[in-house]
């Protein structure tokens, strides 16, 4: 059963009582929250996700609620809790849904070392899985959102989960996080893009999330084989330009973008080496999203 077929009242009841169980990529996640901003965010963006069954094993139990005390009346806040552990300082309550996304990123990055985790968007077309590692400001999320709107499959907007056992990439197609001007750019770019609430004045500026395509969510159980690594770099005025990277150079650059390369040690090095050896690796500067799409599609 999918979240969108759950009646409004039942969704809210589950959030408040036993927790709403969702299958998010390889992770069963249970979320509790009393906040309407969280319930609304889920309705807008998580409709295509499958609900977990009563007897299912839940990997991560998280909650988003207001901290106790008078602050719930005066400038209300929200706390993210991972099964009782609170890793961050509270945020203004209006950022509740965004905090769910950020909190879940943190939980996965710190508790899923069965994968080598790379800070990257991951998309797929014609069976070719493309990793777009993201240094801040590179425009990886914008490029990812644009390509996804043009029919690429979304595997992840934030992290590439590379199985240490098989080298395959496991999808976690969650909402795509867009910041500042990117929100409007994507809205103008595609009429298919469905955006959640726009929240201003967060630590990352103005933030909104784009709903992941239904098909990508439905295919989230199917891992992919990586074939392409592209380091995007938005460059004003640039013609789209691909520059080949040597394998050694690519390996170092991907390692820099990994969340847990140092945790995995030698195993991390092996998995990364294996990954690089089966991928074509490029640096990619671009300005126009349409031209970028054309150029990338010429590679597959």
């Amino acid at each position: 059963m999918k979240l969108c077929s759950l009646p409004r009242a039942e969704l809210r009841r589950r959030l408040k009582e036993e927790g709403l169980g969702l299958s998010i990529g390889p992770f069963n996640t249970s979320l509790k929250s009393h906040l309407s901003v969280v319930a609304e965010g889920l309705e807008q963006l998580y409709g295509a996700f499958t609900l977990t069954g009563d007897a299912d094993f839940i990997d991560f139990r998280v909650s988003l609620n207001s901290p106790p005390g008078l602050r719930s009346w005066f400038r209300p806040q929200v706390n993210f809790s991972f099964d009782g552990f609170v890793p961050f300082k509270p945020l203004p309550q209006i950022q509740g849904f965004a905090m769910f996304e950020w909190g879940l990123n943190w939980v996965i990055a710190n508790n899923a070392h069965q994968y080598l985790i790379i800070h990257a968007a991951v998309i797929e077309r014609n069976g070719v899985v493309c990793i777009l590692p993201g240094t801040p400001g590179s425009g990886k999320s914008t490029l990812c959102a644009a390509l996804v709107c043009k029919g690429w499959r979304l595997l992840s907007d934030e992290m590439a989960l590379i199985s240490t056992a098989t080298g395959d990439i496991y999808p976690v197609p969650r909402p795509v996080s867009l910041k500042n001007q990117s929100i409007e750019i994507i809205q103008n770019y595609s009429s298919d893009a469905v955006m959640g609430e726009v929240v201003m004045d967060t630590a990352k500026g103005t933030v909104s999330h784009m709903r992941p395509p239904q098909l990508s969510v439905e295919q989230s159980g199917q891992p992919g084989t990586p074939g392409l690594i592209v380091f995007p770099k938005y460059t004003a005025g640039a013609e789209p330009c691909l520059v080949s990277l040597t394998q050694a150079n690519a390996l170092l650059k991907v390692a820099e973008n990994s969340f847990n390369y140092s945790v995995l040690g030698l195993q991390g090095f092996d998995v990364l080496g294996e990954l690089i050896s089966k991928c074509a690796c490029y640096e990619f500067s671009y300005q126009s999203l349409d031209e970028a799409q054309e150029k990338l599609e010429s590679l597959i």
Binding site: F57, F85, A112, H113, V263
Partner: protein, 363 residues
């Protein structure tokens, strides 16, 4: 009594293997172990007991992930020990790893799936200043610049304010004793040094003797009041005791050593709660003999009430209505043991005032 914990049952070996394979029980074990920082130990024990293949795939994934963290911790502590030795070799300062670091470098049973967030070392008190200077000149820096905290550590504590490495971010606690000089219990640190062993292929790196690992862990657990990792430390004690007790003379030697170091009271608690909560096979006559370290019948009952709660996993499924209070009271107790009453009053007043000011500034 607080609710029974599946993690305690697992660690004490009193749970059926079939039950752990059942998804809801298994998930509860995962949650309790994660909150007690014991997931990687559970992972290692599952491998040893050949349980892993019977667990749900999701649990196996979590165990694999947790084991990677422990392995990374161990790699890191060995590297840190090397780096510290390199730095301290400039002035030939000997140092002894304590707790987690000592378990790993000494390849003790308590290293199994042990995770830690900082490295603890002991140096001779007369070389403390020199040690600090060398470390600071070589990339470790002080992270707490509050003048009161600085004075608190330097005049009253058995350790320097924590140091952090600029590049690696690792935290280092430099101790000169195992108990604060102001504490009620006194223990002669020179006797502790006498029984340390130099680690093979090292010039300056020492680790404590097995019995002292146990006694130090007991002091830390039952006098220091930082009980977030209480069960993890109790499990260390359990593994060490089980491992050492295969030698016939071990118990007598341990009791003798506790007298030498004047640590009968912490040892009494350690054996009592290891036996009670983790089923550690402590012979009855040993429990009787350590009872000379008992605080008295009334206090014992009271301590049972507190420790049975505070040593359970810090997880919602293990709490009863007294758990929060128990943890708080043991925290207060640890301060009571660390400082004479007048000093404690001053310290609490000072801390309370600062917290209040900070709170006022944040509203």
């Amino acid at each position: 009594m607080p609710p029974e914990s599946i993690l305690l049952q697992f660690l004490s070996g009193s749970i059926e293997a079939e039950l752990i394979g059942e998804p809801s029980a298994c998930e509860l074990l995962l949650r309790q172990a994660r909150s007690a920082n014991l997931l990687s130990r559970v992972a290692v024990l599952c491998v040893e007991k050949n349980l892993t293949p019977r667990l749900p795939q999701r649990m196996q994934n979590h165990l694999q992930s947790a084991q990677a963290v422990a392995v990374a911790n161990h790699r890191s502590v060995r590297w840190e020990a090397k780096q510290i030795e390199r730095v301290l070799s400039a002035d030939e300062v000997p140092f002894c790893l304590l707790k987690g670091g000592a378990y790993v470098v000494g390849q003790s049973v308590a290293a199994k799936g042990r995770v830690f967030s900082d490295v603890d070392i002991l140096v001779p008190k007369e070389l403390l200043e020199k040690t600090e200077r060398l470390l600071i000149e070589n990339g470790w820096m002080c992270t707490n610049f509050d003048p009161y905290d600085q004075r608190y550590y330097r005049s009253w504590m058995h350790e320097l304010p924590p140091l952090q490495h600029m590049k690696r971010g690792t935290t280092l606690d430099v101790h000169h004793a195992i108990i604060p000089p102001t504490a009620r219990i006194k223990s002669d640190i020179s006797k502790f040094w006498e029984c340390t062993h130099k680690v093979a292929k090292h010039k300056l790196l020492y680790i404590p003797d097995d019995k002292d690992l146990i006694l130090h862990s007991a002091v830390h657990l039952f006098c220091d009041g930082e009980l977030e990792n209480g069960l993890r430390d109790l499990s260390d004690l359990d593994l060490l005791l089980r491992d050492c007790s295969v030698r016939d003379e071990f118990w007598t030697e341990l009791l003798t050593r506790a007298v030498e170091l004047n640590l009968q009271r912490p040892l009494f608690y350690a054996l009592r709660y290891c036996h009670a909560l983790l089923n550690t096979p402590v012979p009855v006559q040993v429990l009787t003999r350590t009872a000379q370290g008992s605080p008295g019948k009334w206090a014992e009952t009271w301590m049972d009430f507190l420790f049975c709660r505070a040593l359970a996993p810090d997880h919602v499924s293990c709490n009863d209505r007294w758990t929060g209070l128990a943890r708080w009271m043991l925290f207060v107790r640890s301060h009571w043991l660390k400082m004479p009453p007048l000093q404690l009053t001053q310290h609490l007043a000072r801390k309370g005032y600062k917290r209040w000011m900070k709170h006022k500034a944040s509203v």
